[in-house]
């Protein structure tokens, strides 16, 4: 009987005096992430002391930077399209595709079947171009045909994976599932290089994070993303070009996924058609644990950066403790669901307050 009633925000739980009408300052949420990162570090280190070794930390930073860069795109998508159910499920496949294009155009197996041999920089640019464009295509379908982002990007996930197979087969001239193995200084820069003690991609990640944070906070375009995520009809009536905005954010997500793929490929010195399978889970975790609300209109880049570290810490720590991968799936899935539930609880509470204020 209460199922219909429950659809009215704020009506379902009349009981229990609502908390004071102030929400947790974001600082509070971010502080919690920092504490959690520290607590987990202590916990993992007590089980496996090598967790705090230089190698391990470097490895953790690399993986955090890779997921974080893709997570920045996811954050932007969810902030701006959350009210439309916005999410990008294609990022894992897009990473694989970006890596495959970047590696595949290098001409490592330069044969009659593969007459392409590009300088690494150009190959990478092509990779970013393609993944960015495919992202834009998703955005176009969502904006023009008003399709659900979930469905469109699920389709794109499969399309990008298919293209990855084709690209790899083209590059190595055979269609088995082996990857492209190669060695290239520019890819090494992505995968292996350090600035002092800090991996170069971590610097890249922080620079990109700062750029996107600036875009969200300090530009008119960034503001319009929050408006769109808060209330799409409102955004339209305020003169915001909703369609163009959706296309741009999905293009950004595609592009950053491509970049993440190049990093992954650089770390492994190989591009496999099976690369990055299931990585969309980590990336969505990064955005959601970072405090980006799946209902749109709320989110922060600082949160995303911290969550990228947290998620990679969990990955690294569990690996070190030799937790079998099926258990890792179980743990990570649970964490994601808990993060979503926490967002919902927060939403329910604040929408209840909104109803009261009416």
């Amino acid at each position: 009987m209460s199922s219909l009633l429950a659809q009215i925000p704020g009506r379902q739980r009349g009981g229990g005096a609502p908390r004071a009408g102030r929400r947790l300052p974001l600082q509070g949420q971010q502080l919690a992430l920092v504490l959690l990162i520290a607590a987990l570090a202590a916990g993992f280190a007590s089980q496996a002391p090598e967790f705090l070794s230089v190698d391990s930390i470097e490895n953790l930073l690399r993986s955090a930077s890779m997921f974080g860069i893709v997570g920045l795109g996811m954050t932007v998508v969810i902030i701006s399209c959350g009210s439309l159910g916005g999410i990008d499920l294609s990022v894992g496949s897009m990473m694989a595709l970006g890596g495959a294009i970047g590696a595949g155009l290098l001409g490592t197996a330069f044969t009659a079947a593969n007459p392409v041999k590009l300088p690494a920089a150009l190959a990478m640019l092509m990779a970013l171009l393609v993944t960015g464009l495919l992202g834009a295509v998703s955005g176009l379908l969502i904006a023009r045909l008003k399709l659900a982002p979930f469905a469109v990007t699920l389709g794109m996930m499969s399309v990008a994976r298919g293209l990855t197979y084709l690209m790899v087969a083209f590059a190595i001239g055979s269609s088995n599932t082996a990857g492209i193995t190669f060695s290239d200084p520019l890819f090494d820069w992505f995968g292996l290089n350090n600035f002092g003690p800090i991996p170069s991609i971590t610097v890249l990640f922080l620079v990109l994070a700062a750029l996107i944070a600036f875009m969200l906070k300090a530009t008119a375009f960034g503001r319009s993303l929050f408006v769109l995520g808060g209330n799409a009809e409102n955004a339209r009536l305020a003169g915001i070009n909703v369609r163009r905005t959706i296309v741009i954010v999905f293009a950004i997500s595609g592009l950053l996924a491509g970049l993440g793929g190049l990093i992954l490929t650089g770390r492994l010195s190989s591009a496999s058609p099976l690369a990055a399978t299931g990585y969309e889970l980590e990336v969505i975790m990064v955005a959601v644990i970072g405090g980006t609300s799946l209902s749109g209109g709320r989110g922060s880049i600082v949160g995303t950066v911290l969550a990228a570290i947290l998620v990679s810490e969990i990955d690294t720590g569990l690996d070190m403790m030799n937790v079998p991968s099926f258990n890792q799936y179980l743990i990570k899935g649970t964490i994601l669901v808990v993060a979503v539930v926490m967002d919902k609880v927060y939403q329910a509470r604040s929408s209840r307050m909104l109803v009261q204020s009416a």
Binding site: M1, S2, L4, L5, Q7, I8, G10, R11, R13, G14, G15, G16, A17, P18, A20, G21, R22, A218, T219, A220, F221, R223, S224, F226, V227, G230, N231, E233, N234, R236, L237, A238, G239, I240, N241, G297, R298, S350, M353, L354, V355, Q356, S357, A358
Partner: protein, 510 residues
């Protein structure tokens, strides 16, 4: 109507307090309603009216105080308990579900069941009973219509029908008439009188003070969360009520100032949409053009089409003599047109954003250079508008969703004042706004007109539209049924045109 001499109270609320965080919004409020009495609850925006009614109906919990119904204290942990105790509540903001039919909304979670098979819904009975209730309200809406396809006022009527269908002992109505026109209000009042006769009690909130004498027996006035006075509504005039609400003498409402009518800024010729039929009109710089008409007559649809928010099937729009294709609100805004929409919750304000961000939302280019926001300038502009429009609390960092309904409306208006349109269309600009702020808004609109802005104003409030306009278009069933220049304004003429009749008054031309 006879003023009842405080009948045996059916409901007493005593010593009610409520705080949000460190802000106390209700300070020991006392209130009583007799059986079959209509009690007016009056107060400025943010006085705490909705908060009090939410507490009564179990939507939120009070901090202290007691509620006594029929002699026994009650404790509602949720809205459902309140309903079971015989209370019905018409919320200030619409709470209907857009993807359900009218009948489903009316009987939400109380759908009639089949005899002998109570686990099955009796749809025939559901639609029939919903139809009967709508008929009593004299509303021409089919019970099977999807609520989402109705206009705001019609949705409000569904909301009212829902409350009436509950056969409650006490009905609380939080600004039910804010978006209704005279004729629907009359119907509602007729029904309320019938309810009174049946011994049903009503708590009635409105910012239209002339309604108070018409329907209420007594009126309780709330100011800053405290009860100021309870008076006999029949013998207290609206000026005295307003003074008690505000706590000071009020400036005159509708301070109409005459200014030169300038060049033609907007010409609409033979415009048709799904709901608008071959409409032509012009508007001029410095003019306030009023649009009157019944609910559902196509007023909102007309201005939305002009704003590019709804598709046009035929017709042309000229801005400053130049033909423009209004394919999106963005285009309209670039041509200097602004629209304050009638539904603030869905179309007006982003409730999750702060006041400052809401205010600059339609004019971001004015506070940015090369796409980069000037956040200092943004804050200043927002601060100024919040003061001009008397938004309370006046913090620019306040989330708009936490404001009272009337204050949210002021923020929406501020947004379009900030965007600085040359042609400003306002759809029910003072809906839910208290008398004091209403005068401020009227003053602002007048000033804008004085500076050469074209104002197009839809209002269901006849005194408002007559007080403010230089010219009034009256719509009936998607067409312009009549046009009245200021010298020919009269309630009769407007009502006649609005109902599709020719007024007998001379001088009015169709």
């Amino acid at each position: 109507m006879v003023a009842s001499s405080t009948p045996q109270p059916l409901l007493r609320m005593e010593g009610i307090t409520k705080s949000y965080g460190s802000v106390q919004v209700l300070h020991g409020v006392e209130l009583s309603v007799g059986r079959g009495e209509v009690l007016g609850l009056l107060g400025e925006n943010g006085a705490g009216k909705s908060t009090l009614l939410n507490i009564l109906n179990g939507v939120i919990q009070r901090d202290t105080g007691s509620i006594v119904i029929d002699g026994s204290p009650v404790e509602f942990t949720g809205p459902k308990q309140a309903q079971e105790a015989g209370l019905a509540f018409i919320h200030q903001e619409l709470s209907v579900l857009p993807y359900l039919s009218v009948a489903e909304n009316v009987f939400l979670n109380r759908l009639p069941r089949r005899k002998g098979a109570p686990w099955l819904v009796d749809w025939a009975a559901c639609y029939r009973q919903a139809g009967e209730i709508l008929e009593r309200l004299a509303v021409k809406i089919h019970p099977r219509t999807l609520v989402g396809s109705l206009g705001t006022a019609e949705q409000e009527l569904v909301e009212i029908a829902k409350a009436l269908s509950m056969n409650a002992r006490i009905i609380t109505m939080d600004e039910p008439t804010a978006s209704l026109t005279e004729s629907e209000i009359e119907r509602l009042f007729t029904l309320m009188r019938a309810l009174k006769a049946d011994g049903v009690s009503v708590i009635y909130v409105s910012h239209r003070l002339d309604e108070v004498a018409e329907i209420c027996d007594r009126a309780t006035i709330l100011r800053d969360g405290k009860i100021v006075n309870t008076v006999d509504a029949q013998t207290t005039d609206s000026h005295a009520l307003a003074t008690m609400m505000v706590g000071r003498e009020l400036s005159e409402l509708f301070p109409k100032t005459e200014h030169e009518r300038g060049r033609e800024t907007l010409r609409v010729s033979n415009l048709s949409t799904v709901k608008v039929d071959d409409v032509s009109f012009t508007a001029h710089a410095g003019e306030v053009l009023g649009i009157a008409g019944l609910v559902g007559s196509g007023r909102t649809e007309l201005v939305r089409a002009v704003f590019g928010a709804d598709p046009i099937t035929s017709g042309e729009v000229f801005v400053n003599g130049e033909a423009v294709t209004l394919d999106s609100p963005g285009t309209a805004i670039r041509h200097g047109i602004g629209l304050v929409p009638e539904d603030r919750k869905l179309q007006g304000a982003v409730l999750s954003m702060t006041n400052a961000h809401n205010i600059t939302l339609a004019g971001l280019s004015k506070v940015s250079r090369w796409g980069q926001l000037d956040r200092g300038g943004e804050k200043q502009a927002a601060k100024r508008l919040i003061q001009d429009l008397q938004v309370t609390p006046s913090r620019i960092e306040q989330e708009t969703g936490r404001l009272s309904g009337g204050n949210q409306q002021k923020v929406v208006l501020a947004k379009w004042l900030f965007a600085g349109s040359d042609i400003l269309i306002v759809d029910e600009p003072t809906r839910g706004v208290d008398v004091g702020a209403r005068a401020a808004i009227h003053g602002l609109l007048n000033d804008l007109a004085g500076q050469g802005t074209t104002i197009i104003m839809i209002s269901s409030d006849l005194p408002e539209v007559m007080g403010m306009s230089d010219r009034i278009l009256v719509m009936h069933e998607g067409r312009i049924a009549g046009e009245l220049p200021r010298k020919d304004f009269s309630e009769e003429a407007i009502v006649m045109y609005a109902s599709g009749l020719e007024p007998t008054t001379e001088g009015a031309k169709a």
